[in-house]
Symmetry: C2
Subunit: 480 residues, 2 copies
């Protein structure tokens, strides 16, 4: 395989360069002439569609209804919640002209849609009978990153879904915030085969305008954490300035309780980082655009039997609901095709040659382990289905192992430093005070990632940085 097509750097040597090569060469995405914005190519977009197709029906059966809200938000509207505006305004792209005319008020390209949605909610919601109310949109988002961008992981434009819910009391909103983060953990674990830690962000890291933020965090093989989805309890912070209120059973007006939660194309980058190897990507079967590729092994131009057998098997696999592609291009060798599909991370390869036909079998090759096995022609569908299930499970268990092996639990500052240097993260006791958190960040690289829902008792522990009593255990580490 030419250097041009294969991955030329080892993943452990330079993960950043490796990642970039995989994204480009496997055609997940490409750079555009718009600085900081990528083009999501078919191979990446198909994964996003798989996430949509998994999650959209779950949301719908939970009572979420899809809407579409305007892209542009008048500055005056964005300003109504002060902390929110302050948090987002450095990243906002502004439309100031239309045609040849200067606009009277500049319009923000949505960095998130709380403000434009809640103005409408305020019109639509009147009674406790309208609650809970749940609206969602699948859309594009612009945030003018000034840091180094990285395809999928950090860019000026991304795709996401954002759901916004309204409840009559705190309890309803609290439960919703939790429901959403549990759902995101299902996307990560069941669909993307990425084990995650669920928990709460420390106050310094919560969403601008939220009471608290829940997040799921995955640990990448280079020891950096990746935040994959967030769910915000907004309390009444928006319902007051945006006037989202309802008449309760008591016939009085009340300000509503709200949540918002989102999951973005960032997950595609996470998936590539988490599962890939030196040969390229490995895509979990559940979301792989192609789950199995059939490569005909042809020696002579006259081996027509091979092609017709391959076509037969393709149709049989399609009929079993498997996403299959037959690579019957005649301009490439079988070896070239093996590499082509390995870089792209297709979970299974099925090779069929003249000898296989004679012996009524095929050769099945796993992308994750390279393991080859002979399967009887009669049971190809079953073998492929089993292979896909095994790879899905294996990727998750590799992730689990990575997480376990690279998590240090310690109360010692020295051990924390050692962990970070050793490309791990650590679970440490902390007093929960922001000043102390900042002081710790001066001493140790990284920052607080997430306060896990699952907590050991901390009543006997002191904060890792100060003498105070610990308030919680928190994951500390570097991040994407």
């Amino acid at each position: 395989m030419s250097e041009d097509l294969g991955i030329t750097v080892k993943r452990d040597k330079d993960m950043s360069e490796w990642y970039q090569q995989v994204v480009l060469k496997a055609e997940f995405a490409d750079y555009s002439s718009v600085k900081g914005s990528i083009v999501i190519r078919y191979w990446g977009q198909a994964i996003w569609e798989a996430i949509h197709d998994f999650w959209d029906p779950i949301m719908k059966s939970h009572g979420v209804k899809n809407h579409y809200f305007p892209l542009l938000i008048p500055e005056g509207l964005l300003k109504k919640e002060a902390k929110h505006f302050e948090g987002f305004t450095p990243e906002v792209a502004w439309v100031t002209m239309a045609g040849k005319n200067q606009l009277e008020e500049r319009l923000a390209v949505r960095p998130t849609s709380e403000t434009i949605m809640y103005e409408m909610f305020s019109k639509w919601i009147k009674s406790h009978r309208d609650l809970p109310f749940r609206a969602n949109q699948w859309c594009n988002i612009l945030r003018w990153e000034t840091k180094m961008t990285k395809p999928f992981l950090r860019g000026r434009e991304f795709l996401w879904h954002e759901a916004h819910t309204v409840h009559k009391d705190k309890k309803g909103a609290d439960e919703e915030t939790k429901w959403a983060i549990d759902g995101y953990a299902r996307i990560a674990e069941e669909l993307l085969a990425m084990p995650v830690i669920r928990g709460r962000k420390t106050d310094s890291d919560k969403f601008a305008g939220a009471d608290y933020t829940y997040a799921i965090e995955a640990l990448m093989p280079d020891g950096k954490a990746l935040q994959m989805g967030t769910s915000h309890m907004l309390g009444q912070n928006f319902s007051k300035p945006y006037d989202v209120k309802f008449v309760g059973v008591d016939e009085k007006w009340h300000h509503a309780w709200q949540t918002s939660w989102g999951f973005s194309t960032r997950a595609i980058g996470g998936l590539i980082l988490a599962h890939g190897d030196n040969k390229g990507a490995i895509i979990p079967p559940s979301v792989a655009p192609v789950q199995v590729v059939i490569v005909p092994i042809i020696f002579k131009k006259t081996d027509e039997d091979v092609l017709s057998k391959c076509k037969e098997v393709e149709i049989r696999l399609q009929n079993s609901g498997i996403r299959v592609e037959l690579d019957d291009r005649d301009e490439y060798t079988a070896g070239w095709k093996f590499n082509h599909w390995e870089v792209r991370g297709v979970p299974l390869r099925l090779e069929i040659g003249p000898r296989d036909i004679k012996e009524k079998k095929a050769v099945l090759v796993r992308r994750d382990s390279g393991e080859k096995s002979e399967v009887s022609d009669m049971y190809v569908e079953q073998a492929v289905q089993e292979g896909l299930a095994e790879i899905q499970a294996e990727l998750f268990s590799r992730g689990k192992k990575n997480l376990e092996e690279n998590t240090v639990v310690t109360e010692s500052l020295e051990d924390l430093k050692k962990a970070i240097k050793g490309k791990k993260w650590a679970r440490v006791p902390h007093c929960g005070e922001e000043a102390c958190e900042n002081a710790l960040a001066e001493k140790v690289e990284g920052g607080p990632r997430v306060i896990p829902f699952e907590q050991e008792a901390v009543h006997n522990n002191k904060c890792i940085n100060c003498d105070k009593k610990a308030a919680y255990w928190v994951y500390w580490g570097r991040s994407y």
Copy 2:
């Protein structure tokens, strides 16, 4: 029913006011504080999703692959094809600032994506083996309308899909342009129950930068035409400035031939206009978010049997793949609910009361005709399925009748004028010259809508406006 919820104007009296009331009261959409932009509410968005779910797999089996391209297009890139830039620049919204910084080059919010896509195609396409190449995206579009906006029909932001294809010769691109418009006619006729005329736009009306544009046009009940989808043969007009070329079998470089085609949320407006009546919307069963609503008829609080029977029927209908909603809200009367769902255009209503349970039946009411029938409990699923199919067919045949009755075929200028005054459109012979077309537009309201693919012979006809020989028959009329 209170005036607030029902439609208070007759459709024939003031279609514009009627339309606005239906859009708002049936909750298809709402006005936002962003002038000229609407919020698409659940009831409208669900129709857009139904269109997506019908059309996306058809495109995919045709070889189209979904991508996502950046929202913002640098001015310099947009400018490369002069006619295209000239055509779109009056409607472009410009991003000129990000955070606190003035941008060096202003960025257009995409009014369409030819330019940003073709820059990438130029990188990706190298050989005749890469062709045909077909990329699509589902996305939002901004065009700064200065005319009066109307929800769905004309607005500053809309959703659409845009497919862009690349071919090695003119023949391939010609065929693709035709394939797409035929597909759009299927969406309109099979899914939305709207008969359309397929044809070519006159040169004055074609897409900025195209060799020719195909369109489907539907005739609304007020005699105005609605353009519902367009397919553009771009020739080599873009492949030259954007450098989309390939090495042919002859081992030489050739500029490619291209097409682009799009279908937008405008169709939702068309559907409302086409099928509604004085009571509100009538949604074709194929795209109705709710196909049948069950309304329990409860006289006493103790009629619990009724509710449990309704729930049983709801589940049975769900299991038959029918989109059903049980309206079991206890704060509203049955009559209120009838109106509520009639305004929204739900095709079928199923009423179940205590007497129905005793007699093992239910009452089925059609939204299109108001017709009531008793159906045996045993055959509810079948009756609903048949009812839905009949309504779908009936709506299409009403549309067909509207089209036939309101199309005048004439060679006389006076008859054309009369037709337009009488809220019809006309098929007339024309010489095909732009100056003559403009002269005709001075004399008769409206303009050329579409040159139908199906043409009668014109060798004996003179142009309706000048003495020259007619080149084709063209539909002439007012439009949305």
